[in-house]
Symmetry: C2
Subunit: 327 residues, 2 copies
């Protein structure tokens, strides 16, 4: 198989390479694409590769690890080359003929593709992985979520910003904004990720509902989400209250979570922490209890590495699922 | 008036002194009490005071800035001295004959006291200040809240822990746990504040419902709260979704918030940040929008300084209200 990675030098692109290697998906041919990083050397499977200008000729699969605008600008070239595009951006997620896939939840949707398979938003993947076992017991009707999102969700510049500001504080210097975020991030939280929509949610917040409906095949799911950036280097955390169609016993919910693929259920007194979920693919779920507001409510707290399961690993798993189950 | 402060050398005790001075409540006699800090010098209104062992004889008012166990151990002595005890701890908050007061919401309750007036929990004060104008438009039936609580909520040791860990990171050293929290706090979030109750909430989480019911005189209020410590030095933030009895127009809610005492309403694109609310008494409220789950739902995000309005200032305001409105 011949694989290309668009945006190979970014946080997600590099993580995709690591995930391919870990999962022993060693392509017959690998090509790394970028713009400002053209000429950079990146190693994969003990071999050095040089980042080139995008040219998809002859490729079977292209992973997209760039923004929505860039993904859109290259889609025609990828189509012409006849390659399958597994795209991490939000560019095509809501198009009817583009499957939006978390393999553990709706893996079979991959076969509905017409050249593009979209990888969901990082917080959506982590939240949905946490609740999928509950949704299998009884469909989720509604959900209220507040996120605690790490700076790595904003790419390398987000990581650098927190690092630089932290070092300034420790040197007892004035904390300067280096352009990573709208406002200081060290010792602060920013309740705005992405642009505002007309109804005053942010685009990031609406993804949880729009993508959740499509992935879980729940067209009537309602989600209120508040997305907040916190001074954490890596791994997103999410506080969730959800309401299911039927009444569920708390013990049954916990039992289902214990056996949920890709999930680690933490019993009290333990609870999920972003520090513990970083650098691996499992989503940690804990603080599972009866919600005090919803009729059939469950409250929980979850954490997952948004660069890995929230982005790169999920994209690589999509390919893996596609190859393994190919009809 | 003769005032004593129990726990005067702690974060809240020192802030009480600052608030008394700012609000020009200069007592005829001031006595500062502590245990391990006995002998320490603390200045107030250009005069130096020495922390003594507790002895409440002759005092009119004692402010409590100690934990629940300590508050309980001194209550008999305070009663014997005939002083009014304005207690910041959770020791007496749920007792029927102890008013639990946020002056802007239920100031009149102070007159129901029998020697003790309790100051609510910090997150409760900030959340209730944010929603009180909405509750005046239509009673709040239920609420789902996730907190982003600063380390100063854990006192000086919480502040020191984050400071030390931050400096270790910046020196590229191993980050050590100095005992301030159960786990590392820098670049991490801890979804557990206080001990667990039998139904797997934490005591801190249950305060929002139990205290909210008492302060707002809403005995049927249901609250699901998830309390999370974040690496912020000062000021708590809270993401809230609430359901009111009647349908409210979003414009009417915003208008009410604009005129709400002790509140600053932030219009988009601005949003509340803990960094901006630190060192002052006003609670910032923003990101106000229609909740997508509740029938009559409003979602919002708020921040407030939990050492000030969340503790010391509110206690001093209780005294101020008591004196000003004395019958």
């Amino acid at each position: 198989m011949k694989i290309g990675i668009l945006g190979a030098s970014g946080v997600v692109g590099r993580q995709m390479l690591e995930c391919l290697e870990e999962r022993k998906i060693i392509p017959e041919e690998l090509r790394l694409f970028g713009y400002s990083s053209v000429g950079q050397k990146i190693s994969f499977n003990n071999k050095e590769y040089i980042v080139e200008k995008p040219d998809f000729t002859g490729l079977d699969v292209v992973f997209g690890a760039v923004g929505a605008t860039e993904a859109k600008s290259y889609i025609e070239d990828i189509r012409k080359a006849g390659a399958l595009f597994i795209d991490n951006s939000s560019a095509f997620r809501y198009e009817d003929d583009v499957p939006l896939v978390i393999p553990e939840i709706n893996g079979e949707d991959v076969y509905k593709h017409h050249g593009i398979i979209a990888n969901p938003n990082c917080s959506t993947i982590i939240a949905l992985m946490a609740i999928k076992a509950i949704n299998e017991l009884s469909p989720i009707k509604s959900m209220i979520a507040s996120t605690y999102q790490a700076v790595s969700g904003a790419g390398i510049k987000g990581f650098k910003e927190l690092d630089l500001e932290t070092r300034e504080y420790a040197r007892d210097e004035e904390i300067i904004n280096h352009g990573g975020f709208e406002h200081q991030i060290v010792f602060n939280v920013l309740a705005k990720i992405g642009n505002y929509t007309d109804d005053e949610y942010t685009k990031e917040e609406m993804k949880m509902e729009l993508e959740g409906r499509k992935i879980m095949h729940l067209p009537e799911l309602n989600v209120t989400c508040t997305c907040v950036r916190v001074p954490v280097l890596r791994s997103h955390s999410i506080s969730i209250s959800l309401n299911t169609k039927d009444h569920l016993e708390l013990a049954a919910v916990k039992e289902a979570l214990k056996h949920s693929e890709g999930v680690r259920y933490l019993e009290l007194p333990d609870y999920p922490m972003p520090l513990e979920t970083s650098g691996q693919d499992i989503v940690h779920v804990g603080r599972v209890r009866k919600d005090r507001v919803f009729e059939n409510g469950i409250a929980l707290f979850c954490c997952g590495d948004q660069v890995r399961k929230g982005a790169a690993s999920n994209a690589v798993q999509i390919l893996e699922y596609y190859l393994k189950h190919q009809k």
